[in-house]
């Protein structure tokens, strides 16, 4: 990725920003003081060893974290200059603006492919004005249209794992989110499907800000503009060791631990 392009990106506004995010499960603190800025229309990769709190962090960004009964939180997540945890904010509105794709593809088994794509609109009780257009548009963006256009009425269970994951991406895109969170979206997929999803991510970057958790260094390098390295050292909650342009993190890391991790010397 050329450096001019990155400078251009760097001039844009922040789509989302976290301020001193601390997270606990019961008494156990799992994240400490995470301050990250996600710039509009960029891809940010969150990397780090298992158990460092990446997935927990990403779930605080669309208020999915609070669904775990023992979850606690301190800090702020700013979206459109407003804290999404402010008392008057409805989590349902936040989840409409901040979409999410999960590790395991989770299409609704009782619905057809087409109904799955439109499910978000129906769940949000929004009017479906031009279903055909919406279907084609979001399935094209997710790179699935050509494979399913002749069988939109068949069950989503008949798709392969990779197709199901792209269906889930299309399902999130229908709601036109400002930010799309992806929690290890390719970890259950084969290399071919992974490649397709990475291409999809690169195309989506034009219209949506993406935050992606990944264990695959090469994937972070291929798809992201920025990278944050999370680490949970013994006895301490997870925190961000280093955050910057992906190229810098991988090729000129400032911290020795980052250097060790991206070169596979631990983790």
């Amino acid at each position: 990725m050329g450096s001019e392009e990155l400078e251009f990106v760097a001039n844009l506004d922040n789509a989302m920003e976290t301020k001193d995010i601390n997270v606990w499960f019961g008494e156990r603190q799992v994240l400490a003081n995470v301050n990250l800025e996600f710039q509009t229309n960029t891809v940010t990769a969150l990397i780090g060893p298992s158990g460092c709190g990446k997935s927990t962090f990403i779930r605080t960004l669309n208020r999915m974290h609070e669904l775990i009964p023992s979850a606690k939180l301190a800090g702020r997540v700013m979206l459109d200059d407003e804290d999404i945890y402010a008392a008057h904010v409805d989590p349902v509105d936040i989840r409409l603006k901040v979409g999410m794709v999960f590790q395991k593809p989770n299409p609704f088994p009782s619905m057809s492919i087409g109904d799955n794509v439109l499910a978000g609109l129906k769940l949000a009780k929004r009017k479906v004005e031009d279903a055909d257009f919406i279907l084609e548009d979001s399935l094209r963006k997710a790179g699935l249209w050509d494979e399913v256009k002749d069988r939109l009425k068949t069950s989503a269970g008949s798709l392969s794992g990779g197709q199901q994951q792209r269906l889930c991406i299309a399902r999130s895109l229908v709601l036109k989110p400002q930010v799309l969170l992806m929690d290890e979206p390719c970890s259950a997929l084969d290399p071919g499907s992974t490649r397709r999803i990475e291409e999809t991510i690169k195309e989506l970057r034009e219209s949506v800000t993406i935050v992606i958790v990944t264990h695959n260094m090469q994937q972070a390098l291929r798809v992201s503009d920025y990278t944050a390295f999370f680490l949970s050292e013994e006895g301490h909650p997870g925190h961000v060791v280093e955050y910057g342009l992906t190229n810098d993190i991988f090729h000129e890391p400032k911290d020795q631990r980052t250097d060790d991790y991206v070169h596979g010397r631990f983790g």
């Binding site: 989770n106 009782s110 499910a119 769940l123 949000a124 399902r171």
Partner: protein, 351 residues
């Protein structure tokens, strides 16, 4: 190039060693004979005695055969196999001794179809089978069970939703009450409606009072089965729907309930099957009636089980024949219900 041994597809693991087969045959034929002899010479008598001694002999023979017979290595396996097989056989034998009289005595009524459609209004005790019938009891059972389902299925499913989806503060209490209710003897349900609603004059003896008593018995069955079913719905689906900006209610309505649909139907059918044969709670609430009554809100109403009970009390040969046939009809209705519950549940598994 070497010649293939054989081209015919076979299942060599299914060929049984003839020597082993012979030993098995001796056990299967020898033990019942031994058991029969034993029942003749010992105080163990009758069919039950035969079953118990045969069971003992067979298990013992299987153990011996497995230990010293052809395949000593798999003796534990063979022993358990025979143990389970014989237990099942004895179980089926006991159940058949219950089922057989119902079927054989009930068949006498099959040629008298008037029994299914007429009521017992103008039929005296011990009248011939050509006269009257228990159509009023069939209609009464259907009405009361239908009303009871209308009351308890929605409440039961809502209770299950509260426990699995809302997970509110009262969850342990709801669970506890459902569990406690499922242990309530059926007569207590009848007594409760009788004392709370009939003695106090709020209701008269009626089909509705009967269906209220039945609902008390149905509710825990429906709630517990529905809870188990909802638990089977993977959390992934709920998370996915919530992440798409669904409220909890819309998530439940659009994703959880459709996924659980056939399972919930099964829970309703199991609830119905639970109460279809109840007599005691109806005696105190619907009371029973000899004529057709299609209004569940006034006047007493008959049901199949209470009809059987009343006929048995009359005691004449023809009365008994009616009772057996009514039991037979009830048995078939319940079998159909359970089978359809099975089919619906299987369909759910396949999806």
């Amino acid at each position: 190039m070497s010649k293939a041994l054989s081209d015919t597809p076979t299942q060599p693991w299914k060929t049984v060693d003839p020597e082993f087969r012979k030993q098995q045959l001796i056990t299967h034929l020898g033990t019942p004979v031994l058991a029969l002899l034993f029942t003749v010479i010992s105080p163990m008598a009758g069919f039950t005695g035969f079953c118990v001694t045969w069971f003992g002999f067979h298990v013992f023979a299987a153990a011996l055969l497995a230990k010293y017979g052809k395949k000593p290595k798999s003796y534990a396996n063979a022993f358990i196999e025979v143990f389970v097989g014989v237990t099942i056989f004895v179980f089926v034998a006991f159940v058949s001794t219950v089922l057989w009289p119902v079927i054989s005595n009930g068949m006498a009524g099959v040629s008298h179809l008037n029994l299914l459609f007429q009521d017992a209004g103008k039929v005296g005790a011990d009248a011939s089978l050509d006269k009257g019938g228990f159509g009023h009891a069939i209609v009464g059972s259907a009405l009361m069970i239908g009303l009871a389902s209308l009351i308890s299925v929605p409440i039961g499913i809502l209770a299950a939703l509260y426990v699995t989806e809302v997970r509110g503060k009262l969850t342990p209490f709801v669970r506890f009450f459902v569990q406690a209710m499922s242990g309530v003897p059926s007569i207590v349900a009848g007594l409760f409606i009788y004392s709370a609603l009939i003695i106090s004059g709020i209701l008269q003896y009626s089909g509705f009072a009967g269906s209220l008593a039945l609902s008390i018995l149905m509710l825990p069955t429906v709630a517990r089965t529905a809870e188990e079913i909802l638990r089977l719905i993977p959390d992934d689906l709920r998370t996915a729907a919530l992440a798409l900006g669904g409220t909890q209610w819309r998530t439940v309505r659009m994703v959880v309930l459709p996924a659980a649909k056939s399972g919930l139907i099964t829970s309703a059918i199991l609830g119905i099957a639970r109460v279809a044969g109840e007599t005691a709670p109806l005696l105190l609430t619907a009371f029973g009636n000899n004529v057709l009554n299609v209004n569940p809100f006034s006047d007493s109403m008959a049901a199949l089980p209470s009809y059987v009970f009343n006929q048995m009390l009359l005691g004449g040969d023809n009365d008994m024949a009616r009772a057996w046939f009514a039991t037979f009809v009830l048995l078939i209705a319940i079998t159909i219900l359970f089978t359809s519950a099975r089919i619906v549940a299987d369909r759910m598994k396949r999806n």
